[in-house]
């Protein structure tokens, strides 16, 4: 996520609320204020890391799922993973995952014992990025309200 990407998403957030951006409520002004002296990369990675710490992720080894249910028979222990989001959402990924790294000679997206850790971490990181962006957008809307009211 670049600073420009983030600014675009903040702009879209405001537009979705039916608000118009003025010189005083530009995303760049908000970002400059919340970043302080930090470089964008440092600021953003800290935000994502903060959210990532609130996400649980582990390789499923055949136990009962956190929902209290049994897994489907086709789920392979050691080649499936569970992610628990901060809102309590439970993701049980087995069989395939869009976060499996591409490996020549292997079925695209197929989870294996060898790639499950990498896919799980990429999945959790992507979730953390999206949630961090959502938090940033909420903070931006609150900041705009302060400027306007």
């Amino acid at each position: 996520m670049t600073k420009v990407d983030a600014a675009i998403r903040l702009t879209q957030k405001l537009q979705a609320l039916g608000l118009t951006i003025t010189a005083d409520t530009r995303p760049s002004a908000f970002l400059a204020q919340v970043m302080g002296n930090q470089a964008w990369e440092d600021f953003w990675s800290a935000k994502v890391d903060e959210v990532r710490r609130s996400i649980q992720a582990y390789v499923w080894q055949g136990e009962i799922l956190p929902t209290g249910r049994s897994a489907p028979a086709e789920a392979v222990p050691g080649a499936s993973y569970i992610i628990i989001a901060p809102n309590g959402a439970i993701i049980f990924q087995y069989g395939d995952s869009p976060y499996v790294p591409e490996t020549p000679g292997e079925t695209p997206g197929a989870l294996t014992h060898d790639n499950v850790e990498q896919a799980m971490e990429a999945h959790a990181q992507a979730l953390a990025e999206e949630l961090a962006l959502e938090k940033l957008a909420e903070a931006y809307v609150a900041w705009v309200a302060e400027q306007v009211l």
Partner: protein, 119 residues
């Protein structure tokens, strides 16, 4: 036992809420919330006890997100995202665990998409 799963996206991105219909199935059942809070999404059955939830408005724009909920395990799984991020789309069951997503609107582009994807 027939069971109705209700998927609700709200204007406040309340992470969506789902419930078995009172009086049908287990009334104490607590569905796990959706991983990605969003509004203006589309949903369609992907087979018995599985529903796919596509796109929508997230916290800061339209999403290509494609997630599936399984009633058997009460868990979600993430599927390959749609090629186009969009909200206000439609989804329909096409049979044999396949759904199509149609139309919708992208964020900031003012364009309406007319594409069909199969999952």
């Amino acid at each position: 036992m027939p069971c109705l799963v209700i998927i609700v996206g709200s204007r406040r991105l309340l992470n969506t809420w789902y419930s078995s219909q009172p009086g049908l199935g287990d009334s104490s059942f607590k569905p796990t919330p959706m991983p990605t809070g969003r509004t203006h999404l589309a949903a369609a059955p992907l087979g018995v006890g599985v529903v796919g939830v596509f796109g929508g408005w997230g916290g800061s724009g339209t999403l290509p997100t494609n997630e599936a909920y399984s009633l058997d395990t009460n868990t979600w799984s993430t599927k390959a995202p749609m090629p186009t991020a969009r909200a206000y789309l439609a989804a329909a069951e096409l049979g044999d665990g396949v759904a199509g997503t149609l139309g919708g609107s992208g964020s900031g582009t003012g364009m309406n998409f007319n594409e069909v994807y199969l999952y």
